[in-house]
Each structure stands twice: as structure tokens, then as C-alpha cells.
């Protein structure tokens, strides 16, 4: 029985890790621009497609991938490049011209972009579900694996997500670029006076957030499959996770994502009516927001004069 509990816990953690990766994109963009990038779920979906297509393309052109780890790494790399380009374009085309407009304008723009991406992928790739090369997945079937409560794929997803998040934490707290990002999020006018290229920092935030979503997309595609509408529900859950952790806070998004994943999975295991797991997750969200309106790790909003 404890084995099943641990198994469930790790399902929750690996699911939460993908929520966390997506939630980071929401929270970082909110941090610098104060807007919710509702097209972010679609960037995640594009990442899943990019990863699947990169591997399928490599297989078509006869590139033999020697190790499944190399294949997954290659897929992640391809997806990151593609999504970073999409993220930068998205910011340049859909948000930058509206930066000084009413905040609702960029929100509507975001929803428009999200609908555009869903239909674009549907037309370009069809409505059917796309799956990761089965060869990559089945390479893990016969592998000697010491942990009974965690499947190899689950382990890879969790490990990769944690590594990426650790790298992000290092980048934001220890590098000059990270310092610039934090400065822009605190006060863009002051940051520009101090000589920080604000436009580039904002574009960089989109590139970074989109890259994280791309990693999540490939990892989810590896464990499951991809379809043009997958970004909607995942985006909604990740946004919830970002709010739960305190929107604008990077560690908050990580914590919120993990927490949401674990609550959902424990809910679907131990609730008498498992399909109410989403209701449970949202009840917890409402409860936390009642006690801490800014989220678990969010800072109280200071009115800037």
C-alpha cells in the first residue's frame, strides 16, 4: 500500500512538473508586463508538435538515433528553438504595439493569437492526435530500472523538469541578464534609466518562458500525445498554478504547479468520485486565496506612486 501511495505521489509530481514549467511562463510575463499571456498554452502545444515532428522528420530522413536519451534531448532542443522563435514573434507582433494601450487590448490580442495558433496547427497538421515515435518509448520497456514506484519515462520527465527549473533559478538570480529581468519587473522606467534595454529584456522574458513551455510540451508529448487543443486545458491549469503560487513569483509558480499536480492526482486516487479531482483543486485554490490573496509566495501588491 505505501508503494501505491508513493507511485501516486510521483505521478502527481511529474504532472505537477509540467504544470510548473508552463506556469513559469505566465508568471514571468506577468512579472515584467503585468499582463496574462493567454496564448502561452498554445506555445506549449507548439512545443509538443515541434518535438514530435523533429523526431518523425529525423526518422524519415534516415537519421538513426542511437540512444533514446539523445532522441529526447534532440526533440527538446528542436522544440526550444521553434518555440523561442514563436515567443519572440508573438511579443513583437501581438503585444509590443499594444504595450501602451489599455490592458484589455493586449488581453484580447492574446486570445486572438491563441485561437489563431489552434487553427493554424489544425490546418497544418490535421485534427488527429500525434504521438511520439513509439520506438523511443519502447526503448525503455526492457530497461533495468531499480525504482518500483516510478516508471523510467516518469523519472525522465521529473528529472528533466527539475534540471530546467534549477537552471532557470540560477539564471535569474546569478547572471547579469537575470538581474536585468528582475530590475525590469520591479520598475521598467527606472531600469531603462539605469541603462537596461527594456524592450530586449521583455523579449527575452518571452523567449525564456516559451522555451520552458517547449520543454513541458515535449515531456508531455513523450508521456502522452499531442493534439491542437491540448494547450487550452494545460494553459488553464498552469495559470491556476501560477495564481496559487502567487503570480509574478518564480518559486511560487514552481511550488504552485507541483502542488496542483499532486492534489489532482491524489484527488483522483482517493476521492470516492474521482472525476471531481478538478473541483478539489479549485476548492483548494479558493481556500488559499481567501487566506493569502496574493498566493502562497506572492508579494502584497504595493501601489506605486
Amino acid at each position: 500500500m505505501p508503494d501505491q501511495f508513493f507511485q501516486t505521489l510521483f505521478f502527481g509530481l511529474s504532472q505537477g512538473a509540467s504544470y510548473a514549467l508552463i506556469a513559469l511562463g505566465y508568471t514571468m510575463v506577468y512579472g515584467v508586463l503585468g499582463m496574462i499571456n493567454f496564448a502561452h498554452g498554445e506555445i506549449f502545444m507548439l512545443g509538443a508538435y515541434a518535438g514530435i515532428l523533429a523526431l518523425a522528420g529525423a526518422a524519415t530522413f534516415g537519421v538513426v538515433v542511437a540512444s533514446p536519451f539523445l532522441a529526447i534531448g534532440g526533440a527538446i532542443l528542436a522544440a526550444v528553438v521553434v518555440c523561442a522563435a514563436y515567443g519572440a514573434t508573438l511579443e513583437r507582433v501581438a503585444y509590443r504595439p499594444l504595450r501602451r494601450a489599455h490592458p484589455l487590448a493586449s488581453l484580447i490580442s492574446a486570445i486572438g493569437v491563441s485561437i489563431f495558433f489552434q487553427n493554424y496547427v489544425q490546418i497544418a497538421q490535421g485534427t488527429d492526435n500525434k504521438v511520439f515515435l513509439h520506438a523511443v518509448r519502447s526503448a525503455f520497456d526492457g530497461i533495468a530500472w531499480p525504482i518500483s514506484f516510478l516508471s523510467p519515462i516518469e523519472g525522465i520527465i521529473l528529472l528533466a523538469a527539475c534540471l530546467v527549473m534549477a537552471a532557470l533559478h540560477f539564471f535569474v538570480t546569478r547572471t547579469r541578464w537575470g538581474t536585468a529581468l528582475r530590475a525590469v519587473s520591479q520598475d521598467p522606467v527606472m531600469a531603462s534609466l539605469a541603462g537596461i534595454p527594456v524592450d530586449r529584456a521583455i523579449a527575452g522574458t518571452f523567449v525564456l518562458g516559451s522555451s520552458l513551455a517547449a520543454v513541458a510540451g515535449v515531456l508531455v508529448a513523450l508521456g502522452h500525445d499531442a493534439h491542437p487543443y491540448m494547450g487550452y486545458l494545460a494553459g488553464l491549469k498552469a495559470f491556476t498554478a501560477a495564481v496559487l503560487g502567487g503570480i509574478g513569483s518564480i518559486p511560487g509558480a514552481m511550488l504552485g504547479g507541483m502542488l496542483l499536480g499532486v492534489v489532482e492526482v491524489l484527488g483522483s486516487t482517493y476521492l470516492p468520485i474521482p472525476e471531481y479531482k478538478d473541483a478539489l483543486a479549485f476548492v483548494i485554490l479558493v481556500g488559499i486565496l481567501l487566506v493569502r490573496p496574493a498566493g502562497l509566495m506572492g508579494q502584497k501588491a504595493v501601489v506605486k506612486v
Binding site: Q4, Q7, T8, F11, G12, Q15, Q122, G126, T127, D128, N129, V131, H134, R137, S138, S151, I153, E154, V220, G223, H224, D225, H227, P228, Y229, M230, L233, A234, V265, L266, S268, T269, I273, P274, E275, K277, D278
Partner: protein, 369 residues
């Protein structure tokens, strides 16, 4: 001279009437989204039939025009698509696909006296509400669930099962009928729903695995069925998966990959074994590629509708429904007659099994009684 002009004008008017007043037929179902493949299959079946009628001179000397409506398997969307169909003046509708959409949409069609024939909705409630204008060319879930349960108890001899469903009218309905059909000799060790559209079901599957059933049943559609099968294998749940006519699609095999092997589904008989379906399949393959599971049902449904209009000599829903009910139809699936509810009188559900990447009919036959 005057007479000649009159005749010319009359002929011209008739010619204009032929061009301007087509008989419109609606096709409604999930044309886009994750179930888009099923909707497109339906649409292709209907378009093929409409083209054949037009080549023969149309219906009541009017051309047949196909109008499609996308309900995205959302019941609310289905209702507004139904209103759109009514406003475009359709003489009849082929659809919808999901029972949860067909039922609310049928209210709209009934209020507006429009005939609706669904090629795929199997929930008993579709025809049990006494609507005279509602028909279906597929079977019912109470029959289907019984056949599945019989197969599980008599052929597979299972003693303990787990039952999952996707919380839709169709999925939960089918799962409940299956459960009902099992009888006292079989224990249902787990019963629960999943959320449609979720990507990860491993936690629920781990619960199923903990009960170590001989078989697990899923009431739902192929995207979720495919994910469930794949993840079940991943966590080491090796019991046989059984499902219904929503799962039997090549897409299921693609999503589940090697994990699909051995899955059993209830569905109608194999059209490839029917001599009456030969011509349809040959033309379909040429135009659209391999026929989907529901292409042939949609093709038969629209032919029944157009023959009904032809026989009734009007597009009035009540008269067309009467004509459909009183006739014997010879479609690609063979002879079809309807009972007073609008169900087909004979619906021979059989079991299919996924073997080496394709669904093949099982040889062992069980009766629905």
C-alpha cells in the same frame, strides 16, 4: 408567338428554380477538434451519397446541397448548430455524432419538424423520448453493453472487472449497460469516471491495477481510450481492455501504439464482408482514402433520408418521417427497417479485436438477448 414566349419564360423559370432551390441536407458532428476524424468521416459519406443523387438528377428534380455544422462534441455548441441548420432551411439532418449532442439538438429539430437520422449516437435516450422525426441507423447501448458483457462472461470467462467511463451521456450510459449485463457471477471491483481531455490517467489506472481485475471496460471515445491503453501498459496493468463503438477507430491504434494489442470493442459487422457494401467502399477509397468506421453509416443514413423525401414527394418533416418508417431500405449495410421508436429492427453487434495493428472481427459470436 405570344405562346412561345410564355413557354420560354416558363422553361427559364423552371431552369432557374432547379438551380436556385436545392434540397439542403445538414451534416452535424465534431468536424474539428480531437474527435474531428469521426465528423469528417461522416461528412465524406454524406457528400459521396449527395454527389451520386445529383448525378442521377437530384431529388424531386432538385439538386442536393450538403451543409455542414461543427458541434465540437460540445452539447451547447450542438444546440446552436441545430438552430443554424433550421435557419438555413435544411430538409433533414444527418447527425449528430455524440449522444450528448444528439439529444439536445433533436429537441430543436423536433420543434421545427425536421427529420434527423444519427449514424452514430447509441444512447437509448436518443430514441426513447417518443420523437417521431428521430431515427438512427446504428444500434443502441443497451444492446451493445449486453453483447460486451456476454462476451466477457461467456467467452473470456472473467470473474472480476473494473469499469471506467468518460462522464458523457454515451460513455457513462454504455459503461452502466455493460455493468448491468454482467450478472451476479462477476464482481465489479472498481467503478469510476475520468475527465475528457485530460492527458494523464495513470493515478486512476493505478487504482484499477491495485484491484487486479481480469478485464477493464471503458465507455468513451478513442482519444481517451488510446491514452488509457497506453498508460495502462506503462504502469503494468496487463488485464484485457474492452470498449465500445466509440473506440473502434484507427486513431485509437495510433495513439495507444503497441499497447492497443488485444483490445476488444463492440461494433457493427465488418462492411468488407458484406457484398452490398462493395460498391460504396470502392468509390469511397478512390475519393477520400480508407473509409472510417462511421462513413458507411452516414452514407446509408443520407440515402434513407433522400429516399424518404423522394417517396413523400415533399420536404415536410412529418411526411418524410412517415415515409422512412413505412419503407424497407436497401443500403450499403443491407436491408434496414425501423421500429416505431426509430431504431433499426436488427442491429447485430459483434466483437472486434485489435490484432497486429488492425481491428478484426472476433469469431466467437454472442447474442444480445
Amino acid at each position: 408567338m405570344k405562346r412561345a414566349t410564355l413557354i420560354t419564360v416558363a422553361t427559364l423559370a423552371a431552369g432557374v428554380a432547379f438551380a436556385a432551390e436545392p434540397i439542403r441536407i445538414g451534416v452535424c458532428g465534431p468536424l474539428t477538434g480531437d474527435q474531428g476524424k469521426q465528423g469528417q468521416d461522416m461528412l465524406h459519406g454524406v457528400e459521396l451519397a449527395a454527389a451520386e443523387w445529383n448525378a442521377r438528377g437530384g431529388v424531386l428534380r432538385r439538386p442536393v446541397e450538403v451543409i455542414s455544422g461543427d458541434d465540437q462534441h460540445d452539447p451547447r455548441q450542438a444546440r446552436s448548430v441545430a438552430v443554424k441548420m433550421v435557419n438555413s432551411g435544411v430538409a433533414g439532418v444527418i447527425g449528430h455524432f455524440n449522444s450528448s449532442c444528439t439529444i439536445p439538438a433533436s429537441d430543436v429539430y423536433t420543434e421545427n419538424d425536421i427529420v434527423m437520422i444519427t449514424p452514430a449516437s447509441t444512447n437509448p435516450q436518443v430514441t426513447d423520448r417518443g420523437y417521431a422525426n428521430v431515427f438512427r441507423v446504428c444500434g443502441r447501448d443497451d444492446q451493445q453493453g449486453r453483447v460486451a458483457a456476454r462476451y466477457a462472461t461467456d467467452v473470456l470467462k472473467v470473474k472480476m472487472v473494473a469499469v471506467l467511463h468518460d462522464n458523457t451521456t454515451y460513455g457513462k450510459g454504455l459503461a452502466d449497460e455493460f455493468k448491468k449485463g454482467l450478472g451476479a457471477g462477476v464482481t465489479v471491483a472498481y467503478y469510476g469516471g475520468i475527465v475528457q481531455g485530460d492527458l494523464d490517467y495513470k493515478a486512476i489506472l493505478a487504482n484499477v491495477k491495485a484491484k487486479s481485475p481480469d478485464l477493464w471496460f471503458f465507455g468513451g471515445i478513442y482519444p481517451e481510450a488510446g491514452r488509457l491503453a497506453k498508460q495502462a501498459r506503462e504502469i503494468g496493468l496487463s488485464a484485457v481492455l474492452m470498449s465500445g463503438d466509440g473506440t473502434i477507430d484507427p486513431e485509437f491504434l495510433k495513439i495507444a501504439g503497441p499497447a492497443a494489442e488485444g483490445t476488444i470493442c463492440t461494433f457493427g459487422p465488418d462492411p468488407k464482408r458484406l457484398p452490398s457494401a462493395k460498391a460504396f467502399l470502392a468509390t469511397y477509397v478512390k475519393q477520400y482514402g480508407e473509409a472510417g468506421p462511421y462513413s458507411i453509416y452516414a452514407y446509408d443514413a443520407v440515402n434513407i433520408l433522400l429516399e424518404g423525401i423522394n417517396a413523400a414527394k415533399t420536404t415536410s418533416g412529418t411526411k418524410v418521417a412517415e415515409a422512412i418508417r413505412n419503407r424497407e431500405h436497401h443500403g450499403a449495410f443491407g436491408s434496414i427497417t425501423f421500429d416505431e421508436k426509430g431504431d433499426v429492427r436488427v442491429s447485430p453487434y459483434v466483437c472486434w479485436k485489435a490484432e497486429k495493428g488492425v481491428f478484426v472481427p472476433c469469431d466467437a459470436a454472442v447474442s444480445a438477448r
